[in-house]
């Protein structure tokens, strides 16, 4: 027994030593799926800028996955210094359930804490054989639509709300007609992937579906790959301004002593360099004045609504549409 106690003590000591070894020059950015390529470049650029400024070597790590899953991981103890997720609702959850940052986190940085934005567009096959021009073409019989499951994918929630915006506008706010439109749209969905990347793969690589509802950045990325070079982007008559926000996780940075580094990291995203990198990786910069007009040509004009104006913010949208028993559960009656 004495022996066992000694072994346990040694194990406990070495474990705590391992924990405290995490230095204040290490930063973990917990992000969502389609930002992989973007943050890989941001991290390299920021590290060299920080080194030039302070002489300090920093180790930047990024974790990617479905936005909701990532938020849950942070709540359950993944020690993120900053979170850069697909929608405010997921960071709200970290504030509400994890109590890791204050509820007003979104007011702390410019533009709703959103350094880069995107919107929701339609991606169709070469030559647009089904002649898809707008959202109402997606409910036509015989059109097959690919979009992930809004329950498991942050991107899919933006997709859903973009379609909802169109339907509500067409029916002048008639709730029954709007729900009916979305029910018809989802009756045309043959595969509900769990994440945005999965849906892109289903559409581009498996050749399933006539149209993919996607983030603009994801659609442009798909076009830049060999398998997707013939795909065409269709800009719908109205869409939603997708704002993937960023935040410092207060409790974690204070424990790690990384607040300064974390704040500088997020400020970098708003800098000219950060904005140019965002544009390069198909995100719409929130400060277009810092980016060359050449780079901005990739982003055509889109009529968009914002989540705050059209849906009363993410908290309300989340509970009305995507919570258990919300409108998504109500409209979902798959064809048997």
């Amino acid at each position: 027994m004495n022996h066992l106690a000694k072994i346990l003590l040694i194990a406990a000591l070495s474990a705590s030593a391992g924990l405290s070894a995490a230095k204040n020059t290490e930063l973990l950015n917990v992000s969502y799926d389609p930002t992989r390529e973007f943050y890989r470049e941001v991290n390299t650029e920021f590290a060299s800028e920080w080194k030039a400024k302070t002489g300090q070597d920093v180790v930047l790590q990024a974790s990617h996955g479905g936005s909701g899953k990532q938020a849950r991981a942070v709540i359950d103890g993944l020690e993120a210094d900053v979170v850069t997720l697909a929608l405010a609702a997921d960071i709200d959850a970290i504030a509400d359930k994890g109590k890791l940052l204050p509820a007003n986190w979104q007011t702390r940085l410019p533009n709703n804490s959103t350094p880069y934005r995107s919107t929701i567009v339609l991606l169709v096959r070469k030559g647009n054989p089904k002649n898809i021009r707008d959202w109402n073409d997606l409910v036509r019989p015989g059109v097959s639509v690919i979009t992930p499951n809004p329950k498991t994918s942050g991107g899919a929630r933006w997709n859903y709300l973009a379609a909802w915006t169109y339907a509500a506008q067409q029916s002048h706010g008639d709730l029954g007609k709007t729900k009916d439109f979305l029910a018809r749209l989802f009756a045309n969905v043959p595969v509900l992937d769990t994440g945005a990347r999965g849906a892109t793969t289903t559409f581009v690589d498996r050749g399933i579906g006539d149209v993919l509802i996607a983030w603009e950045n994801e659609a442009q990325l798909a076009q830049s790959e060999p398998a997707g070079k013939d795909l065409q982007i269709v800009i719908p008559s109205i869409s939603i301004l997708a704002e993937p926000p960023v935040a410092v996780v207060d409790k974690n940075v204070d424990r790690h002593g990384t607040r300064k580094l974390a704040e500088a990291y997020l400020a970098f995203l708003y800098s000219a360099k950060g904005q140019q990198l965002a544009a390069k990786h198909h995100f719409r910069p929130s400060r277009p004045d810092l980016v060359s007009p050449e780079a901005l040509k990739a982003f055509p004009n889109v009529v968009t609504v914002t989540i705050d104006k059209a849906f009363g913010g993410w908290k309300k949208a989340q509970s009305e549409h995507f919570a258990d028993g919300g409108t998504f559960d109500q409209i979902y009656k798959p064809s048997r």
């Binding site: 499951n149 919570a323 258990d324």
Partner: protein, 284 residues
């Protein structure tokens, strides 16, 4: 620790020729409790936060039922097919010598080693409408990927090693003399198979079946890629659990988990009992 169990174990200790029952029983029970029982208990406690009423509201939900039926139905069917094919493969590997036999023998274990997501993606690529096999199957009118058939294909893949590997060692230890005796006494080949071989193989076949089935019920990684995940059609119960988790509905998720667990336990318990009787020769 073990001393305590040894004392506890004493009243039931049977006089046997081998020493060490107290020690081994103590280690076994402690280990089982730590690794299996405590996590399961935590699950039940979390689910019990809902109360009976809340639990039943989730358990009786039509969508949950559809997912449960799909998960258990496809797992049963896949395990059944795997048992027949796995038995056959084991027979061929044990009884015949052919070129590249050891290569095929090693191949059997691959589904064990492969990360399930890789299996799911590979199977989907092959069976989708634009894949090698899926293309021809679709021309023949059979859609595999993104339908429940796809789920069965994925479960067949991951379940196969269980059935082959449980039957193989038993087959290797079977005496050919039994078959020869049966034949010399005038039994037809079918009678030999049915009356002589099958009773000896049945317990192993059943074990393989249970393992493949249990694995199939809980399988998530490979299935979500090929299933299509449409509610009421191709949405498996483990996916519903993940959806509940993404809604931060931990209690709801554990409610479905506990329902799956109870159902699996009942089925496995029944299979185990059947298996014990088979090996004691009380049936067949």
């Amino acid at each position: 620790m073990s001393a305590v169990f040894a004392k506890l174990a004493h009243p039931w200790r049977q006089a046997g020729p081998l020493p060490g029952l107290g020690l081994t029983l103590g280690i076994s029970l402690t280990w089982l409790s730590l690794i299996v029982l405590i996590p399961l208990l935590a699950l039940l406690i979390k689910a019990s936060g809902l109360g009976v009423h809340g639990w039943w509201a989730i358990a009786s939900d039509a969508r949950v039922w559809a997912a449960m039926k799909l998960s258990f139905g496809t797992a049963l069917l896949a395990a059944l097919i795997d048992t027949v094919i796995g038995g056959l493969i084991a027979w061929v590997l044990v009884r015949y010598r052919f070129p590249a036999r050891s290569f095929f023998d090693a191949l059997i274990d691959l589904p064990f080693a492969l990360p399930t997501a890789v299996a799911g993606i590979a199977l989907t690529a092959i069976y989708a409408g634009n894949g090698w096999l899926g293309h021809w199957l679709e021309l023949a009118g059979l859609k595999v990927a993104y339908t429940p058939v796809g789920i069965i294909v994925a479960l067949l893949f991951i379940g196969l090693p269980f059935t082959v590997r449980t039957v193989q060692p038993v087959l290797e230890n079977l005496h050919r003399e039994h078959e020869e005796a049966a034949a010399s006494l005038g039994a037809s080949r079918f009678t030999t198979l049915w009356r002589v071989l099958l009773p000896q193989l049945a317990p192993a076949l059943l074990t393989g079946f249970s393992l493949a089935f249990a694995r199939g019920v809980g399988e998530y990684g490979s299935v979500i890629f090929i299933a299509g995940n449409l509610p009421y059609v191709s949405e498996i119960a483990p996916l519903l659990i993940v959806i509940k988790l993404d809604e931060y509905d931990y209690a709801g998720a554990t409610a479905i988990a506990s329902l799956m667990l109870a159902t699996s336990f009942l089925i496995l318990f029944a299979l185990n009992t059947l298996q014990r009787r088979l090996s004691r020769g009380q049936i067949l």
